[in-house]
Amino acid sequence: MDETGVVIAFWVLAIMTIGSALGVVGARNIIHAVVFLVASFLGLAGLYVTLSADFIAVAQMLIYVGAISILLLFAIVLTPQENRNNSEGFLRLPALALALLVGAVMIFAAVDTEWAIADRDGFEETASAIGDALLDKYALPFEIASVLLLVAVIGSIVLVRPEPMEEDE
């Protein structure tokens, strides 16, 4: 991981991701917050590319940037006007303290431990490897995940469907 291109890419994308994450915190309008969130998703997709995880990078772009952002935007459109100022609740200070604490612990753990660094460079291509792993080693979780998705879709439709009794009044 030492070619200059990858290092430059890492720093640019890292700053972009963390910057837009802070943007989500600071944005005054919740739509701006979602736009910053999408920017951090894209930054992450770039980071995955530097980690030579090409399938996950593209999947991240397709699912997070394409689908989940739309879910968030539609939820914002369907909910009332007055809560769109992305304001903080009364839990502000304790949340800040907790977040800083958790962050410090994670960074300390990351820097301090001796990771068993393998001396191989990135995978050539991961898509087919993931496919094989999904279908033989992780076949059961794969099925459970599909059931979970089905349940989630049906659940959300049932939740949001206008109640039948509303039609007849």
Binding site: M1, V7, R84, E88, G89, I117, A118, A129, I130
Partner: protein, 104 residues
């Protein structure tokens, strides 16, 4: 100046703490969901960086696990946003503080 595991884990840690802050501090229910999504992504990043750097039997399992977390987070986002719309329909607001009753 080579880039290695610590850098990625620091980025993931920072992202996670920002996500945690957003989840806890934001007033609107949608803000909380944005925070949760950020935490999911931070975790994915650490998985991928471990899969890339750390010695392991089959490194691809990191990627497979991320696929599963993406599906779980997508399912969770869909259900949570359906809840947000339902909350608005029932309570007329999506402010988190106003949802103090366990049963409405």
């Amino acid at each position: 100046m080579s880039v290695d595991l610590e850098h990625y884990l620091i980025v993931s840690g920072l992202l996670f703490s920002i996500g945690l802050y957003v989840t806890l501090a934001k007033q609107s229910f949608i803000g909380v969901l944005i925070g949760i999504e950020m935490m999911f992504n931070a975790v994915n990043l650490s998985f991928i960086s471990f899969a890339r750097f750390v010695e392991s039997g089959d490194p691809i399992s990191g990627h497979v696990f991320v696929v599963f977390t993406i599906t779980v987070s997508a399912a969770e986002a869909a259900t949570a946003l359906a809840l947000a719309v339902l909350l608005y329909r029932v309570k007329g607001t999506v402010e988190v503080e106003r949802m103090d009753l366990l049963k409405w």
